[in-house]
Subunit: 472 residues, 3 copies
Amino acid sequence: MSKEVNSESVSLCPLNTAAAPEQELLCIFGTGDLGRSLGQRLLQCGYRVVYGSRRPHSCGPLPPGTQAVSHGAATQSANLIFVCIHRQNYDFLQTLAPQLNGKVLVDVSNNLKKNLYPEANAEYLQRLIPGAHVVKGFNTLSAWALQNGPSDSNRQVYLCGNMAEAKQAVTETATKLGFTVVDRGSLSAARELEDFPLQLFPEWRLPLRLAVGLTAAFFFYLIIRDIVYAYVVQGKDVSFRIMVSLANKVFPIVSLIMLSLCYLPGVIAAFLQLYRGTKYKRFPDWLDRWMLCRKQLGLLALAFASLHAMYTLIIPIRYYVRHRISEITISQIRENITYKFDTTMAWRTDSYYSVGILGFGLYILLGISSLPSVSNVLSWREFSFIQSKLGYLTLFFCTFHTYLYGWSMFLKPSYYKWYTPPAYMLSLVVPSVVLVLKLLLLLPCVDRTLTRIRQGWEKTDPENDSKKSLLT
Amino acid sequence: MSKEVNSESVSLCPLNTAAAPEQELLCIFGTGDLGRSLGQRLLQCGYRVVYGSRRPHSCGPLPPGTQAVSHGAATQSANLIFVCIHRQNYDFLQTLAPQLNGKVLVDVSNNLKKNLYPEANAEYLQRLIPGAHVVKGFNTLSAWALQNGPSDSNRQVYLCGNMAEAKQAVTETATKLGFTVVDRGSLSAARELEDFPLQLFPEWRLPLRLAVGLTAAFFFYLIIRDIVYAYVVQGKDVSFRIMVSLANKVFPIVSLIMLSLCYLPGVIAAFLQLYRGTKYKRFPDWLDRWMLCRKQLGLLALAFASLHAMYTLIIPIRYYVRHRISEITISQIRENITYKFDTTMAWRTDSYYSVGILGFGLYILLGISSLPSVSNVLSWREFSFIQSKLGYLTLFFCTFHTYLYGWSMFLKPSYYKWYTPPAYMLSLVVPSVVLVLKLLLLLPCVDRTLTRIRQGWEKTDPENDSKKSLLT
Amino acid sequence: MSKEVNSESVSLCPLNTAAAPEQELLCIFGTGDLGRSLGQRLLQCGYRVVYGSRRPHSCGPLPPGTQAVSHGAATQSANLIFVCIHRQNYDFLQTLAPQLNGKVLVDVSNNLKKNLYPEANAEYLQRLIPGAHVVKGFNTLSAWALQNGPSDSNRQVYLCGNMAEAKQAVTETATKLGFTVVDRGSLSAARELEDFPLQLFPEWRLPLRLAVGLTAAFFFYLIIRDIVYAYVVQGKDVSFRIMVSLANKVFPIVSLIMLSLCYLPGVIAAFLQLYRGTKYKRFPDWLDRWMLCRKQLGLLALAFASLHAMYTLIIPIRYYVRHRISEITISQIRENITYKFDTTMAWRTDSYYSVGILGFGLYILLGISSLPSVSNVLSWREFSFIQSKLGYLTLFFCTFHTYLYGWSMFLKPSYYKWYTPPAYMLSLVVPSVVLVLKLLLLLPCVDRTLTRIRQGWEKTDPENDSKKSLLT
Ligand SMILES: Cc1cc2nc3c(=O)[nH]c(=O)nc-3n(C[C@H](O)[C@H](O)[C@H](O)COP(=O)(O)OP(=O)(O)OC[C@H]3O[C@@H](n4cnc5c(N)ncnc54)[C@H](O)[C@@H]3O)c2cc1C
Ligand SMILES: Cc1cc2nc3c(=O)[nH]c(=O)nc-3n(C[C@H](O)[C@H](O)[C@H](O)COP(=O)(O)OP(=O)(O)OC[C@H]3O[C@@H](n4cnc5c(N)ncnc54)[C@H](O)[C@@H]3O)c2cc1C
Ligand SMILES: Cc1cc2nc3c(=O)[nH]c(=O)nc-3n(C[C@H](O)[C@H](O)[C@H](O)COP(=O)(O)OP(=O)(O)OC[C@H]3O[C@@H](n4cnc5c(N)ncnc54)[C@H](O)[C@@H]3O)c2cc1C
């Protein structure tokens, strides 16, 4: 079969396939795609490879320089064995248990779905062959990466296993192949490793759904209030406003609500702790889950805020805006009116912009500090200073920005088209509540109690005490 | 006591509290908040826990499934002991020295202030019980993280200790609890680890103070020159300009000054080395400290530059600006004037914007390259190419941008209100000096000498030589 | 000689130079700059240091507290020896082979150019003294960092070597000096480590050249079409447009082309795999190289897109634009015309901006996900979801943005000045081709075959089969 192999491919390993004396022999069980890909890569990095196969004579094309023999034969020559077989076929390995005694077995398998089996593949393998040292690893890589070496998404190889020496041996091989190894502890972490490649942003789902839901709802609300209203009541077609004007109302609203939803659970948690008088009772499930997706809520809020910033900045180059402005100027001249400069208006709008920009600056700071490499170099005190203290400041600035935008609008009935309040008012409800509750928590007496509770103090009411003496 | 415990909380560890045979028993000294929090977490991750207490029968509620016994009894059953006691109470541990021989003691303690004690808590513990293997660790985590497992700010656990095996054992436990371990070497690093949780941006203090000081000073200067002057001399109230116009003068000024302060120490250092003829004499203290906060100076300068960018981009949507523009247009018509298009003006302003944008782009590149994860993948040559070469280019662009802004303003007496120069001129002093000095350093003859000095060459003037022969 | 030494410099190591009993003695071969710098740092961190020199009595000033003796004498007292000698002088070390037996030799050397010698310095050293344990390391640091401890660019020390214990010993020392150690495997990685400090963005060269080339070409094209044409045909000097207007045409064009060049190789690769019916044949060299610089292509494209965004946002504050707008308004009044509001125009321009902003948002998301610390926490599935799926979406948005910009311009002969098409049309060619090809690949039948091929399936045409049976 005329088959070229990727032998000169991009590889940092020396190609001393022939000369070097200390070439190690590795064994691969399974001649499928994974086995072949891995074998090629090992060859490129100067290893010798032998395949173990159930049908050594009819197992299809293998990388040149390798051969397939029976599992038993393959086992004898190597100490490190990559198991590139599907889990369904593991059971036959049991028959090889004696030969596999003391060998290092690398389980690279993945499943098609989560929770398909009661135990992790690697743990199952270990149970089948208790005498072998099973190491879970490489499964977070794609077959493509196994064949071609690391690229951006997969420079890291996660390993776990119960025996340090076995992991060390696999680590050596992985580093030779160009990967960076992260040790994840004992084999009980295998389940986690096997779930890793299957996940697609699990912790982003809820926040994303919320964002999409809010966006859709407010778009709908604004289309009714702005577009349909103008069409029905004033007979004007302003549908073109959907693209920028409406979007630039929806984005800041969603951003502000999501930002406040990011700080609401913390406040609720604090009140719950105050009420219960202890921090050792666990939070209700919904609160727990909510608190765990605050980072994602916050980052999505930042994304919406950035869109708001961009949409705001292009306002003056829009055709519609330019047309309006020249229209106003022209009508001023034709009708010989002069609008007097209104200092209050100047103060208000300038403050409005200024507060918005400062809030956005802090927003971005929060975003930067949540980059893994940045949060890793921060101490816990520093991180929570930024996320909690500056986070509340951000929320305050953004809420204030929105109040300044509204100004006295809420007093004018003309803004309540069809008896509905302007959308910006709706967006102010949650942030205002959060800020007021937070203020309450900052009252010295409340703050003192809360601090004590968080340091482990517990309110022991007499009832409890008597119960305790009865029970213990 | 009716007490629920966070037993189903968010944990990736299997909850095989009952079945698994190989459950390890760990011991915790101390039943305070830290001890209880840590104990809960260990239980959740499948360990068995026993508490050592001075008053085992009256030590308050413990996580269910654990019990408190005397320190001696607790010690016997476990090899790994977490010491969750305050340092003040360490001394009594001395009495346990024989039982603790060969055990691994994890010191998780922190102090309330830096330099409270002459030696690190962990070193003190090691001195008290020389036969034990003390490992410092987990102290960079909050009690909250110890109880609930890692979150963003504290995925990493720092360890240090003198014995590799002891560290290995603690590492295993930490990875099981979900943390990533960073080994910081021998126990002499304990002090550093104990100081870590206490710090709140120590290296940012000086640059921040400088930034605040400069901002306040220039705000004051501009309020006098712009607002007060207009009020006193022209009788106009332009106080609204504070919010945006003034801010947008102060921010670029502070940014430019801080950027130049970031490159000034390098130039001073170079001249000092040239003058001394050696690189082996240490710099004066102030220069050392200055050089160590250049990163922070630079990043703050970038923050101010970004604010400047935002404030500039909102200019055309400001009420004041729109009003002015329409006023000008209207007056042109009413008075029937036509302003001719001025090509020089167009060239100048466009260049001004263009140079500013390119400078800002480079600025951001500097910022990106100082993210830890980015600077880690750069070689030293690459990093200093960006920070030094492109950094000077940034400084040049930003300075040039300011000169273009000023243009011929410095020639017109009307700009020197109350005999004070416009603020932008003040901001040009330091950058111009830095650039000129840098140009001098780039002269071939100077550059050659400097390079030789930095490669270790030393000027040996005759006087020195004679001294040397006398002394050695 | 009156020589102060940097002894109080910025160091986190305790300065227990005198008291501590367990001070380790290290040996340094070579008293040049590197040796002296390293020695100083070691002293500061509490080690004792002895120098090995060929002329121990005339080797110039050494850090106080150290002394130079003969190589042989120096060797006896220490187990860890830093070899700070140039490779050219290694050969004399052979004479010391017996004394160096079992010692750890740290090779810190670098070469002036790549591929100067057939084998890595460290491998050469190992060959000269087979009985020693050579560890390559510290060479990625500058002498400056060796003397002063880690700073931002060089917190990480890369090590490689064949013996784990030797590496462990060097690791201990490096962590004591304040560095973080990354183990790069066996000594065969030494070459890579020695090349690392020499490189200056090697993988950025090609994309950078491409970007510069495209920018220059389009600038030239547009100067002809816009500036020269206006001058020759209309007799107007609009040269000032170079600074902003032209730049803001060139940048988006280059960005779009580079973005599409980032996705073109993937499409070509897919068609090649379809045509060949296998994924095991390696790609032609040019394609391989192209695919390896896609990240850089993409990031440069993002940089150009950001410049485009900034240049667009400053449009309304430009003198030229303000002048034009007021001119138009004035002429409307003087000539008493009223431009009617054109809803189609409003829809089109607003869509144009909106699509552009969304595309830019995705662009930035791609950029963020390619930060090392972010891509490290993503699973391979997540990373390729962002880079591939959202990447194509970005390309689609940006292309659509450009089509909306062009609108019906391509129908109007007046836009074909001197029979050349507007530049934006040229920029649409590659992206359109890429998108069409990608659409073809998404057809169910094609997609199915491709997926099978990528899972390892191979088309076995009869010819091949017969060949195979003949050959094997
Ligand atoms: C742009 C952006 C980025 C963000 N990135 C992140 C991120 O990377 N990571 C992240 O986690 N969040 C992130 N967030 C969300 C948010 O900023 C943080 O969750 C923030 O810490 C919430 O502050 P808090 O004071 O409400 O909550 P917390 O500080 O978590 O406190 C709230 C509650 O938690 C409990 N608690 C916390 N600490 C203790 C303790 N020591 N002892 C006892 N109980 C305690 C208490 O019940 C308390 O009431 C981000 C937000 C934004 C807008
Ligand atoms: C946005 C932004 C981000 C920044 N981020 C960072 C950052 O992450 N990290 C950081 O350090 N700085 C950062 N800076 C600050 C600044 O860019 C750097 O400090 C830059 O390296 C200074 O360049 P330099 O040429 O003046 O100094 P250097 O390259 O440090 O040289 C100046 C002096 O240092 C000494 N020196 C340096 N190298 C040697 C050597 N090999 N041998 C002998 N002596 C030597 C010499 O005395 C020399 O005169 C940042 C700046 C900005 C604006
Ligand atoms: C701002 C920005 C940042 C970027 N950052 C990065 C970055 O950090 N890292 C990066 O790599 N790219 C980056 N890129 C470039 C680009 O987004 C990616 O390369 C992207 O993955 C290309 O997608 P694709 O679908 O064309 O290619 P791929 O997903 O690589 O697929 C293309 C071809 O590769 C081969 N292939 C890939 N996977 C397999 C497989 N599993 N089995 C068999 N064959 C396979 C096939 O031949 C396939 O036809 C960036 C781009 C931009 C605009």
